[in-house]
């Protein structure tokens, strides 16, 4: 069924079946977008639930001239960023209280080779994924959002521009800088 009809049913009749249909349709999009920001799949699924709760509450304010997917992307991006900001605050408070030895050392990562046996692959891959995520999360937020929408969702420059409410040329430059920085961070982590 058309998004507009479903949205109208949710707003007018508080139709939970219609909302469930919307969630089924957008589950992959939301989970995968959140996955771009967070370290584990499980975390991404939890965030996706928050995104849909917020979507439900926000639907009456949805302007129908814009695309529903754009609206959902915005909620997903904001939820993810807020989640990470909160986590960062908690971690820094935790570190300050308990482990303030003052040596200022960051966690170091070792790139793990995938030449080993099949059984080791998942461990290796999850270590490397952690490394990748550390690097992505080091990017300034606007570069991070742009690269996640581009690489995890294959959105076009124009679509990213709509979600982020910036011009197409800024998206272009954000992505370029994001990639240059990300390459640098990936290499930095390997060298530690």
């Amino acid at each position: 069924m058309d998004d507009c009809i479903l949205v109208q049913k949710v707003i007018d009749d508080n139709d939970h079946k219609a909302f469930a249909e919307l969630m089924e349709k957008y589950q992959r999009m939301v989970v995968t977008t959140c996955r771009g920001f967070v370290t584990s799949y499980h975390e991404a699924e939890d965030l996706a639930q928050d995104v849909f709760v917020e979507l439900y509450e926000s639907l009456p304010g949805f302007r129908k001239e814009s695309k529903l997917s754009t609206w959902i992307y915005r909620i997903a991006v904001n939820k993810s960023l807020n989640h990470l900001r909160k986590k960062k605050r908690e971690t820094s408070i935790f570190n300050l209280n308990l482990f303030n030895k003052g040596d200022g050392k960051e966690t170091t990562f070792q790139i793990v080779s995938t030449d080993d046996t099949e059984a080791d692959y998942s461990i290796v891959s999850s270590e490397n994924k952690k490394l990748l995520k550390e690097a992505i999360n080091k990017l300034p937020e606007n570069q991070r959002v742009a690269i996640i929408l581009s690489k995890y969702q294959d959105l076009s420059y124009k679509e990213i521009a709509e979600v982020m409410d910036v011009s197409v040329s800024s998206v272009e430059s954000l992505l370029f800088r994001a990639k240059t920085n990300l390459r640098k961070y990936l290499v930095d982590y390997q060298k530690k």
């Binding site: 996955r35 849909f52 439900y56 960023l81 490397n128 990748l132 240059t180």
Partner: protein, 151 residues
């Protein structure tokens, strides 16, 4: 093409976003420079994990019902928990305001009591708004921390 530029544009190279000219220059450099091609392989391995994470998705048949339960729970909590609190708060504020009104009234005998009453009504609204802010309207704009370097 030198090592520095080859490294700098590695991800753009992997994504096929460079001009044909630059691309062939980098390719040429990679054939001659083993350092850069080793580097490229490492970066490619990590960058390629994005594709893997993208494909982790598996449809969760319970996600929708979990969300619907939360929506119902929120509604119930709103009616069971929040409303009485809201009313209790407003009630106690009104009581306080009426009390203040009476005290003030007894001191300032020449102030019109109806004005005093409408003043305190306003302050109740203000206070209640502070405790239960009407949902802010900017939450659906992306809120990005613009700092370039947030180390």
């Amino acid at each position: 093409m030198n090592c520095k530029d080859t490294n700098k544009f590695m991800l753009q190279f992997l994504d096929g976003e460079l001009s044909a000219e630059k691309t062939s220059e980098i390719k040429e450099h990679l054939m001659d420079c083993s350092d850069c091609s080793t580097e490229l392989n490492k970066v490619k391995q990590l960058y390629g994990l994005i594709e893997e994470e993208k494909n982790e998705f598996s449809h969760n048949p319970y996600l929708s019902s979990k969300v619907l339960n939360r929506i119902k729970d929120d509604k119930e909590q709103e009616s069971i928990l929040l409303r009485p609190i809201r009313y209790a708060l407003i009630a106690s504020l009104s009581t306080a305001a009426v009390f203040v009104g009476i005290v003030m009234g007894s001191f300032l005998s020449n102030i019109n009591s109806s004005i005093a009453q409408s003043d305190s009504d306003e302050s109740i609204e203000l206070l209640a708004d502070e405790y239960f802010p009407t949902s802010s309207n900017n939450i659906y704009d992306i809120q990005i921390d613009e700092t370039e370097n947030n180390k």
